[in-house]
C-alpha cells in the first residue's frame, strides 16, 4: 500500500510536467488548429533560460550576487517572460508569414517541426554538447508521510501544475481575451469582421502557452538538473500524446491527459518489468484512443478550447 502511494506521488510529480507542456500544445491547437511541434523544444529553451537567468543572479558566481530566495523569486517571472518572447518570435518568423499567405495547415505543422529541430541544433551549436546543471535555488527537504517520501520541490511542482490549470481555465472561460480565443477557434474568418484583432489573439495564445512551457522547463530543470539540447524532444512528444488522449483543444483534457500518461507509465514500470514500460503504456493509450478517437474530453468538431 505504501508502495502504491509512493508511486502515486511519483506519478503526480511526473504528470505535472506532462500537463504543463500539454497545456501549451492544446492552447495553440485550440485556437489555431495548429500542432505546434516546436513546443517541446520551447520547454527546453525555458529550462536553459532558467539556467542562464539564475546563474546570472545567484551569489557568489553571478553578476548580481543575490540570495537564493531572491534569485528564485526573480527567475520564475523572467524565465516565463523570456520563454514567451521565444514562442512569439517563432510565431512571427515562422508561422505568421505562412498563414498570411494562406498556406495549408500541414505546411505550418511541418514548419513547426523544423523550428523545433532548429532550436535543438541551434542550442547545440551555440552552447556545445556539454551538459548544464541548474544551481540549487531551493533547499531540498525530504518529508516522510507514513512511509511515503516527498520533497518540498515535488509539492511545489504539483501545486504549480494545478495552479496553472486553474488560471488558464479562468482566462479561457471567464475573460474577454478568453472569449476572443474561443471565438477564433469558432470562426477565424468572421472574426475580423466583428472587430476582434485576430493576430493579437494569436500572439496572446503563444504568450500563454510559451510562458507555461517556460515555467515547466524551469521546474523540470530544478527537479532533473541535467540540461541538454534534446531534453525537450522526447518529453514534448509524450506530452503531445497526452494532450491528444485527453482531447486536444480542451485544457481539461491536457491536464487530465498529462496525469493519465504519467500514471500509466509509472504504474507499468512499478508492477511489470520496467523494460516494457513504454510498450505497455502506449498500448493502453492506443486502446483509449481506439475507444474514444477524440480523446477523453474531446468533442467531435464542436467548440475546441
Amino acid at each position: 500500500m505504501e508502495l502504491f502511494l509512493q508511486q502515486c506521488v511519483n506519478a503526480l510529480q511526473w504528470g505535472s510536467f506532462y500537463a504543463l507542456i500539454a497545456l501549451g500544445y492544446t492552447l495553440v491547437y485550440g485556437v489555431l488548429r495548429l500542432i505546434n511541434f516546436a513546443h517541446g523544444d520551447i520547454f527546453m529553451v525555458g529550462a536553459y533560460i532558467a539556467f542562464f537567468v539564475s546563474t546570472a543572479f545567484l551569489a557568489p558566481d553571478g553578476v548580481f550576487g543575490f540570495s537564493r530566495e531572491l534569485s528564485l523569486a526573480l527567475t520564475i517571472p523572467l524565465t516565463m517572460v523570456f520563454t514567451s518572447i521565444v514562442g512569439v518570435a517563432l510565431e512571427r518568423i515562422a508561422y505568421r508569414p505562412l498563414m498570411r499567405k494562406g498556406a495549408h495547415r500541414l505546411y505550418v505543422v511541418i514548419t513547426a517541426l523544423m523550428c523545433g529541430l532548429i532550436l535543438e541544433n541551434g542550442n547545440l551549436a551555440l552552447l556545445g554538447a556539454s551538459r548544464k546543471t541548474l544551481p540549487t535555488l531551493l533547499d531540498k527537504n525530504i518529508y516522510s508521510l507514513g512511509g511515503v517520501a516527498v520533497t518540498n520541490l515535488k509539492l511545489w511542482v504539483i501545486f504549480a501544475a494545478a495552479f496553472v490549470f486553474v488560471v488558464l481555465h479562468f482566462i479561457v472561460t471567464k475573460t474577454r481575451m478568453g472569449m476572443a480565443m474561443r471565438a477564433v477557434s469558432w470562426d477565424k474568418f468572421a472574426l475580423p469582421l466583428m472587430g476582434i484583432p485576430l493576430e493579437r489573439v494569436i500572439v496572446f495564445t503563444f504568450i500563454l502557452g510559451s510562458s507555461v512551457a517556460g515555467l515547466g522547463g524551469m521546474l523540470f530543470a530544478m527537479s532533473y538538473p541535467v540540461l541538454e539540447p534534446y531534453m525537450g524532444a522526447m518529453t514534448g512528444w509524450k506530452a503531445f500524446i497526452a494532450a491528444v488522449v485527453g482531447g486536444i483543444g480542451d485544457i481539461r483534457g491536457a491536464f487530465a491527459g498529462g496525469f493519465l500518461l504519467a500514471f500509466v507509465e509509472i504504474m507499468v514500470a512499478a508492477f511489470l518489468p520496467s523494460t516494457f514500460r513504454d510498450l505497455f503504456a502506449f498500448s493502453i493509450l492506443l486502446f483509449i484512443l481506439w475507444q474514444r478517437p477524440t480523446g477523453i474530453f474531446g468533442k467531435p468538431l464542436t467548440t475546441k478550447i
Partner: protein, 388 residues
C-alpha cells in the same frame, strides 16, 4: 558545357583526393562521441589525441623506418549513437583512407563499429569499451580497457568488503550494450557469491529517460544493502539525487563510465562518498602517468579522466604498430594488414593506465582501480585489484 565538365572534375577530385597522396601523412580516424549523451567522453578523447599529435609533430612527425611522417588525426562525431558510429567509421575507412581507427569509446557504439572495421579489414582499437562483444571473434579489433566479466566481480568483491553487503539492487540502461552487459555480469558474479536471489531488484530504463522514480521506488522497497549503477555519468547525476529524494540512505557503487571529469559538476553533493571501479586514478599517480596528467592539466585546465588516459595508451599502441611496420607506402590494404599483425603481436605493453598483457582475443589483462569520491569531489585512489 566546358564549365560543367570542369565542375564535374572538381567534384570528383573532392571525393577522391587521397589516391596520390597516401603515404604523405599517417592518418588515424577517431569516430568519437563529440555530441549526444556523453560529449565529455568525446572531448577527452580529442584532447588526449591532440596532445599526442602535437608532441610527435613537434619532433617532425612519426619516425617510420628512418623517415618522419606527420600525424594526421581525423575526428568524426558519432553523436553517441550506434547507427552514426557505424556510418562515420565506414566514412573514415572508405573516404578518408585512414590506416587505423581509434574509438569509438562506449560499447554501445564500439560493438557495432567493431563489426564494420572487421568486415572492412581495418585495424581498430577502442580505448574505453569494456563489453566483450566489441572484440570477440574479430581479429581486426583491439582494446585498451579491461573487460566487464573482470570488472563486475571486482565491483562485487569490493561491495562485500566495504559495505558488508548481502543484497544488491541494479539499475541499468536497457539499450546500452555497456550498461546491460555489465549489469548481467554483475548479477552472475553477485549470485555466485551470495546465493540465488541476492540481487533483490534488477531494473532497467530507456535511453532518453529522465525520471526513474518508479524503478527506484521498487528497488528501495526491496531494501538493498547498496545499489549498483553501471551507467553513464549523465544518468548517474539524475539517478543518485532522485534515490535520495525517495528516502534511500544507503550506498551506491558505480562502474568506469562514472569516471568522467563532468560527473561532479552535474551530480554535486549527492555523489560524494560513493565508489566506482575504473581504469586509473589521477590522484597519487607517478612516472609517465603523472607527466601525462600534468601536461594535460596545463593545456586544458582540468585533470584528465580515464578516457583521456586510455586514448593516450591506444594511440601509443597504434603508432607503435605503425613504426614497427618499418615503412609507410604502397597498398593501403597491405599497410592495414601489417598494422593489424603488429598489434596482434604485442604481448606486453607499459601504458599510463598500467601494465597490460594481451590475450588471444586481443583483450588486455590489466588491473582495475577502485576510486572513492571524497568530500571535495575529487576521485581518490582506494585500492587496486589485479587479475590472478
Amino acid at each position: 558545357m566546358l564549365k560543367q565538365a570542369y565542375a564535374f572534375v572538381c567534384a570528383m577530385a573532392l571525393f577522391a583526393p587521397c589516391g596520390g597522396h597516401a603515404g604523405q601523412t599517417v592518418k588515424i580516424g577517431f569516430p568519437i562521441p563529440l555530441t549526444g549523451e556523453i560529449p565529455k567522453v568525446g572531448e577527452s578523447t580529442k584532447f588526449a589525441a591532440e596532445l599526442f599529435r602535437e608532441e610527435i609533430n613537434a619532433k617532425g612527425g612519426l619516425d617510420v623506418g628512418g623517415k618522419k611522417y606527420p600525424l594526421e588525426f581525423i575526428f568524426e562525431d558519432n553523436e553517441s549513437k550506434p547507427e552514426t558510429a557505424v556510418n562515420v567509421t565506414l566514412k573514415l575507412i572508405d573516404r578518408d583512407d585512414v590506416l587505423a581507427i581509434v574509438g569509438p569509446q562506449s560499447s554501445r557504439q564500439a560493438v557495432p563499429a567493431g563489426a564494420v572495421a572487421n568486415d572492412n579489414e581495418t585495424p581498430m582499437i577502442t580505448p574505453w569499451s569494456t563489453n566483450p562483444d566489441a572484440t570477440k571473434d574479430r581479429p581486426w579489433v583491439f582494446r585498451a580497457a579491461f573487460l566487464d566479466p573482470f570488472q563486475a566481480p571486482v565491483a562485487a568483491d569490493f561491495a562485500i568488503k566495504q559495505f558488508k553487503a548481502k543484497k544488491a539492487a541494479v539499475l541499468f540502461e536497457i539499450s546500452n550494450d555497456y550498461s546491460k552487459g555489465l549489469a548481467d555480469h554483475f548479477r552472475i558474479a553477485w549470485e555466485k557469491r551470495n546465493g540465488k536471489g541476492a540481487v533483490v531488484a534488477f531494473e532497467s530504463h530507456g535511453p532518453k529517460d529522465q525520471d526513474f522514480s518508479a524503478q527506484l521506488t521498487k528497488m528501495i522497497a526491496a531494501k538493498p544493502d547498496f545499489i549498483f549503477l553501471p551507467e553513464n555519468y549523465s544518468f548517474v547525476a539524475l539517478i543518485v539525487p532522485q534515490a535520495r529524494d525517495l528516502g534511500y540512505r544507503g550506498a551506491f557503487m558505480g562502474s568506469d563510465a562514472w569516471g568522467s571529469a563532468e560527473l561532479m559538476k552535474l551530480c554535486g553533493q549527492a555523489c560524494r562518498g560513493q565508489f566506482f571501479s575504473t581504469h586509473y586514478a589521477a590522484a597519487g599517480a607517478k612516472g609517465a602517468t603523472k607527466e601525462f596528467i600534468d601536461r594535460y592539466n596545463k593545456k586544458y585546465g582540468y585533470v584528465p579522466d580515464d578516457v583521456a588516459a586510455l586514448t593516450w595508451d591506444a594511440v601509443t599502441l597504434v603508432t607503435g604498430a605503425i613504426q614497427k611496420a618499418g615503412k609507410l607506402e604502397g597498398d593501403i590494404r597491405k599497410m592495414r594488414k601489417l598494422i593489424r599483425d603488429n598489434l596482434a603481436a604485442v604481448t606486453e605493453f607499459k601504458g599510463i593506465t598500467g601494465n597490460m598483457r594481451f590475450d588471444a582475443q586481443g583483450d588486455p589483462i590489466k588491473c582495475a582501480v577502485i576510486v572513492a569520491i571524497d568530500e571535495k569531489g575529487d576521485f581518490t585512489f582506494k585500492e587496486s585489484v589485479c587479475p590472478q
